[in-house]
Assembly symmetry: C2
Homo-oligomer: 508 residues x 2
Amino acid sequence: MFATMGALGLAPTAQAAQRELPYRAPRPGDFSLSGRGAAKVVIVGGGIAGLATAYELGKAGYDCTVLEARDRTGGRNFTVRGGDTTVDLYGNKQTARFSDGQYMNAGPARLPQWMVTLDYCRELGVPIEVFTNTNADAYLFNESAGMTKPVRYRTAKADVYGYLSELLAKATNKGALDKELTATDQERLVDFLADFGELGDKLTYDGGERRGYTTVPAATGTPGVLLGDVPSASEVFASGVGRYFSFEFGFDQAMLMFQPVGGMDRIPKALTKAIGARRVHTGAAVSRITDKGDRVVVTYTQGGRTRTVEADFCVGALPPNILAKIPHNLGSGVQSALEAITPQSAGKIGLEYKSRWWELDHRIYGGITETDMDLSHIWHPSYGFHGERGVMIGYYNYGGDADAYAKLSPAAREARAVVQGVKIYGEKYRTELATSFSHHWRQTPHLEGAWHNTPGGPDDPRYKPLNEPTGRVYFAGDWLSYTDAWQHGAFTSARRAVTRLHTRVMAG
Amino acid sequence: MFATMGALGLAPTAQAAQRELPYRAPRPGDFSLSGRGAAKVVIVGGGIAGLATAYELGKAGYDCTVLEARDRTGGRNFTVRGGDTTVDLYGNKQTARFSDGQYMNAGPARLPQWMVTLDYCRELGVPIEVFTNTNADAYLFNESAGMTKPVRYRTAKADVYGYLSELLAKATNKGALDKELTATDQERLVDFLADFGELGDKLTYDGGERRGYTTVPAATGTPGVLLGDVPSASEVFASGVGRYFSFEFGFDQAMLMFQPVGGMDRIPKALTKAIGARRVHTGAAVSRITDKGDRVVVTYTQGGRTRTVEADFCVGALPPNILAKIPHNLGSGVQSALEAITPQSAGKIGLEYKSRWWELDHRIYGGITETDMDLSHIWHPSYGFHGERGVMIGYYNYGGDADAYAKLSPAAREARAVVQGVKIYGEKYRTELATSFSHHWRQTPHLEGAWHNTPGGPDDPRYKPLNEPTGRVYFAGDWLSYTDAWQHGAFTSARRAVTRLHTRVMAG
C-alpha cells in the first residue's frame, strides 16, 4: 500500500526520503565567515521542538527568543514532583504530594536506542538509565476473558510458545508443510521448535521451568516446586494473553529502552540552560502572529501586559490545535492544514506507595503489567529500586478511556484505578497507597492533546504550507514527523526547520 | 523423569521440598532468652557462602572467624578494577589498567528478580541497577552457518517469528490441526499469529518495521527506509539464529536482570563490613581441619606462620575441589563426596575502549551479542552509558573454549578475541582498544573452577555427609544447591547450614 501511495504522489518514496541529508548543525563560524549578521528568530512554544530550534540556531549565534505560555518549559515533557500544581480545563486543581526523590513522567517516559533524543542526552550531559519497558515477571490480566487472577508474562509466553511449537511441529511431521519446506528445512524448524517451546521428547508441551515456580530452587532439599496447573492450548488461546507479546518487537518499543536519571524533564531543563534562561519567556501566551514581509511580529501577553517581539523569522512550535486558535495572516492554506491535524487523548495517574510491596511481595522490579481494563497499562517504576517508597503508574490509557477518567475528580480517578489494581495485586494496592496525582493531556491548558492524528502522514500535500512555508514563519513539532508523540519527532522536525531557515539566511 | 527419581528416593519430591521451612535468621535475643552462651564458629572460605554464614550467625552474636586464603573476600565474586593484580596457575601475571570508574565482573554479573541475592542487596544497602541481559539491537553471528555479517536480534526475531507464524497459519487453514483444535481455537490461533508474525493480509510474511530501518523515521520527508533483503524461510532456518531465542525465557535469565551499582563485589564488601573486618582474615590458607569431638581445630598459614583456631563448630565454605585437598579427619564419606563434585571452566576478557563506538556507531546500549565462535558471548557494558570509555566483555565462554584461551598468554587471548570481534563490529573493535584483562576460573589459585558438576544433584544420597554432617563441621556453597554458579545458591546453602547449626546449639 505504501508503494502505491508513493507512485500516486501521496507518500514519499525511498528516493524522496534520501533527499534529506544528514543533519549539520549551524556553527559559530557560519556568520563570521560569510560576513553576514546573525538573524533574529522568535520561537512560539517552549516544548521540545521550540527549545531544540533555539538551541540549534544558537550554535551559530542566532538571536533567539522563546515564548512559552505555561510556567515551565518542556511542553508535554512534564515530570511531576512534590509541590507541582496543575489546573485542568475542567477546573480540577491538583498539587502533587510526592515525597522527595519520587516523580512521575506525565508525558514522554521512554527512549529507544535509535532515537536522536539519546544524542541530545549525550550532548547535554543528561545521564540515562534503563527504562523497564518489558519484564518477564510483570503480569497480564484479561478480565473480560474470564481470568480471575493475573498470569506472569513469563508463564504466558511459556504456554503460548509451547503450544505454538507443539502444533507446528505436529503439522510439520504430518507433512502439512511438504510443499513449503524441504526435508532439511523441516528438520531445522522442528529442532528450533523443540527448544523454542521447551517441548518434551515426543514434541509435546507439558509446562516446564520457564513458567516459573511456587517455591524457587535453592539449597539442598529445595529443588523448587514448579508452578502447577498448566492450562490447555484452548484455555491459553481463549485467555488472549498472546495479544501483548508483539509490543516488545516494535521498532520503537523493543528493549532496551532508556530514561534520563531523575526525570524526563532533565532534557528541557538542560536545553533551557544551554539556550540561556534570559532568552526563554514563560507565562508568555502568544495572541497574534503577523508576517510583515520583511519581518515577523509576534504579540503576546505576559503578567497581564500585551507585548510584541519583532524578528527576522518565526518558528511556530506549538501543537497544531493550539496554533490554529492564534490569529495570524499566514493564509488559509496554513489554517486548514493546522485544523486537519487533530489532537488525541491520553492520561496517567501516579500512585505513590508507602512501601515497594511489588518488589517485596511480587518480586517485580520494574516493567509493565498489561490489562484489558480501562486503565490499560500499569507501570512499575524504573528507578528507586529497594527504596522506601515508589510511584506506580496506575493507569496509562488513551482515547475514550482517558477522557472517561479525565471527567472524574482526581479523587474519583484514584478510586477507580485502585479498585481495578486490587484485582491484580491484592489489597496492598489500596492499603499501602500514600498519595496520587493524575494528568490528562487533552484537558491541559495550552496543549490540549497528548499527540495528534495527521491524516495522510506529514508529507501529504495539504501540509505543504507547514513544511515548505512561503513566508517568514516556519513550523516544527512531533506532529510534523513520522514519530508523532515521540520527542525524536520534535527534535528532527526542529532540525529540519533549522536547516531550511539557516540555509535561507546563509543564501541571503 | 524427575517424578521417577523421587519415587526411587534419588531426588526429593515436592513434599520433601516443603520440609525446608522459610528461613528465619538467628536473632540477638536467641541466646539471652535461652540463657546459653553464643558458640564460636570458624568459617573456612570467605566467598559468598562463608561470608553469608558469618553474617547470619553474627545476627545472634556468634563469635565467628572467617579464614580466606586470597587477599580479598568474595571468592568468585570478583570485580576487576585498575591496579588489581592476578597470577594464574600457569604463572601469567596481569595487572589491570582499566581507567577510573571502569570495571569488569569476572565472576557473577547478573541477578534475576527472584533470587535471594537481591534481598541481601536491600538489607546491606547495596544499590542496584538493570543488567542488560537482552537487547533487541545486539547482534547474532553464526560464522559456521555462512553468515558474512551480523544480524540484529530484532531482525532475526522478526524473520523467525514471521515465518513460523506464516507456516502455522497455513497449516491451520489447510486443516492440518482439525483434530487438535476446535474451529474457535483455530480462529484465535490465526488471529494471534497474524499479530505475532506481523503477517500481511494473505497471512504471509514479507518483512516489516520490526526488522529495523537503514534510515530511521524522522521528520517530514523522512518516513524511513526499511532494512531490505528479507531472507527466505529456508535461509532464516539455515542461519540458526533462532537457537539463541530461548535464552531469555529461562527462569534464571529472563529480563529484567540486575547488578549492583559499581561492581558485583559491593556485596562481599558490604558483608565483610557488616561481619566486622577484624573477624575476617585474608591471606589465611587452611591446611588442616580436625574435628576433636567436643570442638574443631583449624590449622592455617598466614604470613609464613602456622596458626590454629579452635571453635565449637566449623563451616567449610570452600569449593569442593579445594576442600578435597585439605587434610581432615571427617571420614571417607566426606572425602568421596567432595571428590565426586567436579569443577568446570569459564573465562572472560574485559576490553576497555577509548570510545563507546558501539553506542555511537551501532546504537547498541548494553546487551549481549551471541556467536557460534569460540568467544561465545560478547557483552556490552550495563553501566556508564554515554561516558567517554567503556569495558566490553570480549569473550565469556566455558569448558574447552575457556581452557583453550587460558592456555594462551594474556596478550594472545586479547589478539584472538579481537580478530573475531572485528568480524562482527568492524575495525574499531581493534583500533579503539585501550587495554584488556582476562580471567579464567579453572586456572585461579584457591578456587580452580567457575562452577561445579554435582552428579545426581545436591540431594543425591552420596552427599549426605556434606548435607547432614554427623560431627561439628558443616558445609555450604552454591555447589550444595540447585542454583550452582549463582550467588543465590551460596546464600541459601549458607542459610541452610546456619539453620541447622543454630538449631543444634539452641537445642544443646
